[in-house]
Symmetry: D2
Subunit: 345 residues, 4 copies
């Protein structure tokens, strides 16, 4: 019997992306789509491109009958999610795409998100869903906190290198470039085409909420507390994150050591790939896909290296990884519905 | 046993798009990829995003062993295709994505393409592959001439209306807007990002080679020779064609008659859809898909109507329709490998 | 003594564009900038690129001391403008960039804008500011209704042709393509980069408020009431309007007659130009400028022609033409502050 | 009497940008435009947007009569320029926009450009034209080597900080993001709209020729040899460079020390500005202008800071700075023809 899916908050971009991918999944059926502000509408009124897909109409969050649901994808805004998830019946498995359960330390959460964590017990149960690094825990999880887009792009290359003690932990600079979908679908002046197009800029310098999430993973890998420089930039494009990461090699280590470490760490992975010699990863190469493509390059500064990591922020950085996690939680082949190559050009 | 595919001219955009879609097809395997100028290279050297897909290396056209091939997709430039296809062994089925076999009248071909047709006998055998209009002939075809992108977007709405005698045949104006992929991958100054971005323009006014192709289909539908206005425009985007078509209603006919005609013509079709009331089709709604979405609107000029038709020029306008045709020629479900919804945003 | 300028509604795009151009004007000084919702802010808080330009802070509309002002540019939203302008003291000259005084017939205004005209007497005094066609009246005007962007692009080529009786008046089809700045700076979901980018669509089919404005000018030129097809489309670019206009020639007239008519009409004009043989106007060619570039082309449909008209919607379609009108009203050289060539690429 | 200008290599983007700006300059006239491959053409055949500007036709390099020329802007490709300039008569002043005279050390030139310097004596005479840092030498120069775009964006913030010994010299990381115009107008597949649009990537990692140029300036400022990390990225936009620069503070120094240093260094400058508190510079803010806008931000990594520097690569990064240098060489007001604010949106 197919798994029955509910998507809470289906009118945002991560909701739409979940639908795009889940429609290719042979083992599930989409049973409920909620969107409080749009409740009562047909999906085509919110996303005309999803007309003809046979989707249920949008309903209020309160109208979901969970007795008919096996799996919940939660795409609600940060802050509102904790209480919603705490109230879900125990038989449903949950993949939460918000930030609400990503930080294991509830004090860190309170500091960065400006309010007390509202489901502290549940936080202890939550598994951080960076699939390739936490696959075993995800298999057994009831609640997976799906990683943020920037943290996915940064942790995948850096965690193995820190585990293998190949790079210094106090000198990590992550210059990240993201497409605009990361800002969501809410109408904001700063995200108008007129304001974004034909220019680039940094934002949230020293203050982006994905910094503590990145540091949590890196600290876990290094076995000690790590602080990083994380500087996000907004690009005039819809999809994609490129993180250019500047690292200092541990004394005596080489760029080849880094490549070998990543090759070993991801040798058996379907979605994380090391670029072949001569190829510099660009976001075009992963657009629309669940892949993370990594490249390692020598720096002209002696004893340093540069790592390039690209993902599609809506797929591996959100909805694709969420489905990858669902596949693991349900015992499906991990790449089910996620095998497309990039849409290029 | 899976059908074995060769793609001749695999280094262009239609070749890459065929590969993107065929990789999702359970009934085929890609056995040969040719690209004379790139022969000997791995696919990743031409299209890095196709690394890890398990594709064969690029070989010269002359190196294909057709005894191991069941189906050929031909993505070679206009003019070189006729002789290549004429030389293929008879057991292979061919879908030709060039313009070389689209015009049934070889004199019209000679006039618009500037040289004699080089395979006149084969031309008689070729079936024009506008799938929804010629499905029965395609089933039995050995050689399908896959339609051009603009002609697909224009003929799908206009042919039923002309068949049903709902619009005047001497007053059809097709204002078409296309993304840049239609110009192919050859390096041309006019197609540089710097030249295309942040502006729009018309081109080929009164002289585009897709005009006679459009007129061929419309004349067939109307039962008499038709000349149309066809004015293409280049848009600063990669994919998509929107044709805004201005028509004069036959005396006594209404916009509702047009809608009914299209609804009836395409009621059972998977890929051609009539937009719901309140939705104006945009190319975003079909990006990456094999769908054609149509809308019909009243004009303020009495007795006239406006039709909007959108496709992805690389999919329904090229590689997607080619696979749709292959599916029919091979007896597969017509939408195999083509069921994705649009990638939006 | 320099003319002292106030810009009412300076926080929108037409306000910012007025400032960009007026900063190059040697005969004026900007004395007051209003923006009720942003009152009290420095201009850099609203438009960081205007920091360092020595501009006054934003003030409420009610705080303007008109005894220190000679000229008012009014960039307020449609509907609120009539009463504001009616209350201005008589010594100020006014260029209104809204639609509030463009339609001479107040009943037409009421029909298309959904409410009674609120300053009917003032409407009689207002001069429609399509500079090249109404220069003499503008010289003497106190209140100029600055034309809409689409109407400017359509009326400039069509009015001379209708005056010269070269085209049929009942068969004019205007397929217009506009950049996103035309939608203004208000935060709207449909204008997000994510929604606009990489696609095109028509909107307001048969219902756009610029249709009656176009028809007003064309009717004046033709000496009889004219209805046109006007179909606007949104392009993934910031600036520019391209109108592709399909016309039927009056019996016996030729494409050359059209070219001659336009060449004659605009022979002495600085800003309206006919493209040289071999050049098809694109919006790139006028980006950032006050120019209108026209091209005339033969249609393959006998007895028909195609006209291409391009402007920058924010300049000749709004703020540039407003300054051109001010220059005339004040006796300055008409092209003062407006002589830049296009910014390309 | 006006200065008479020749532009050698006028058909590229820097040539076109020189023309755009020089047309606003009251003290010069453009007398000769060369473009060997386009010789004999009217400028409108190469750049339609420059029709109507009254420019001379394009001629071969060999056809310039230098007895009628006072100033030469040289926009020829790297490598061909040295011999051309060496052959110019001594009365002309030269601003060279190529890289051929930027590196004072001819061995460094030979290493990075792959061939011997062909005008070593002339190299000794050339003045590096980073205006704000070398104004006095430029006043007296006959030959100015106009800086590269990336080096301009990086040296302007870093040189004062190094002079003031506020940052460590062995730990400078420059992550630069550039628009596509930097790649020039030659037709290259990698620069097609289809390849660039909707994605970002790094290129030339550890191997870009602007690295030694940056290091030359920084070494001069620091009084010792400096090596930097310089990693350029290509953005899907036409104009603009944003350099995000990661630096380590000298022991005991603070972010405020950096701000003070830059404020002091550029207090009297017209074109280099420090962003006000609360504003993060983006390339939109300088598009089309000769400004460089700088911001300094605290890093979360203790003892480190982040500098953001934005310019328009075609203006301050090329043609604008060239005119700024010409103004100084000729005794004109330094900002003549360069006072426009940014074109936004």
């Amino acid at each position: 019997m197919k798994k029955r899916i509910a998507i809470l908050g289906a009118s945002g971009y991560t909701g739409a992306e979940l639908i795009r991918l889940l429609l290719l999944h042979p083992e599930i059926e989409i049973k409920a789509l909620t969107a409080d502000s749009q409740a009562g509408k047909k999906m085509r009124e919110v996303y005309p491109h999803l007309d003809f897909a046979g989707l249920p109409d949008l309903i209020p969050l309160s109208a979901v009958d969970y007795s008919l649901i096996d799996i919940v994808f939660c795409c609600l805004p940060h802050g509102t999610t904790q209480e919603v998830i705490a109230a879900l019946p125990k038989h449903v498995k949950i993949i939460d795409l918000s930030a609400d359960f990503r930080l294991a330390n509830v004090d860190t959460y309170a500091k960065w998100y400006g309010h007390e964590h509202l489901a502290k017990d549940l936080q202890k149960e939550a598994v951080y869903g960076l699939t390739e690094l936490h696959r075993e825990a995800i298999k057994k999880a009831r609640l997976v906190a799906n990683p943020g887009c920037y943290p996915t792009s940064a942790q995948l290359p850096l965690m193995p290198l820190l585990k293998d003690k190949l790079i210094e932990s106090d000198n990590i600079i992550i210059d990240a470039k993201s497409g605009v979908t990361g800002a969501g679908r809410a109408a904001k002046q700063a995200m108008l085409h007129t304001e974004v197009n034909e220019g680039v800029g940094a934002y949230g310098i020293g203050a982006h909420r994905h910094a503590p999430e990145i540091e949590q993973g890196l600290s876990e890998a290094a076995g000690k507390n790590i602080t990083v420089n994380f500087t996000p930039h907004l690009m005039p494009m819809n999809r994609g994150i490129l993180s250019t990461i500047y690292v200092k090699l541990t004394k005596g280590k080489t760029v080849d050591d880094l490549k070998n470490s990543l090759n070993k760490a991801y040798a058996k992975e379907y979605f994380v790939k090391i670029a072949a010699q001569g190829i510099t990863p660009t976001t075009h190469m992963v657009r629309g896909t669940n892949f993370c493509l990594l490249g390692v390059f020598a720096d002209r500064l002696e004893g340093r290296a540069i790592i390039v990591s690209v993902i599609d922020n809506l797929v591996k950085g959100a909805s694709g990884q969420a489905i990858q996690n669902m596949n693991i939680m349900c015992g499906f082949a991990e790449n089910t519905a996620l095998t497309q190559t990039a849409i290029f050009p």
